[in-house]
Subunit: 91 residues, 2 copies
């Protein structure tokens, strides 16, 4: 496999990972359903995206930065909706 | 920030991303609840992990390989449980 093909594979992989949770976020936006989602899972995913973003900024890698700005918004949205629901139930 | 601290930040970020969906997988294992999960989201996450794994093998990067072997199992499990539920409902 040549170098260009390998790089393209990497970019496709990055796109899949970055946008993976977009359908889940849209589902929550439409239905408000978050009961079956794990707060721990989405808090870890959000922390991961924030840390990757910080890492990208520190090493100055634009691909890592862009991918994780998008990811922070998507998984951050899911996390906040779930957190709001948990707080509401407890309150 | 020194080089070592930046590298550690990268590894912590990678750990968060790799293991993020483990609590969701355990939740599904305990309860069987998958109705509110998006099939599209977890099919994309699984495809992403498989493609990252292929990319890691092609460039020979052990960190990328290990992280994505774990991710393939975790998100793949969630994806298959959701897929099974969708097929069951349709059948």
């Amino acid at each position: 496999m040549n170098q260009v093909a390998v790089e393209i594979l990497g970019y496709v992989a990055a796109c899949c990972s970055t946008f993976a949770m977009l359908p889940q976020a849209l589902h929550i936006h439409r239905t408000g359903e978050v009961e079956q989602l794990s707060l721990r899972a989405f808090s870890m995913a959000s922390a991961g995206a924030v840390l990757w973003l910080a890492y990208g900024l520190l090493i100055g890698n634009m691909v890592v930065i862009l991918a994780n700005v998008v990811a922070v918004f998507i998984v951050g949205y899911i996390f906040l909706q779930k957190l709001r629901s948990v707080i509401k139930k407890r309150g």
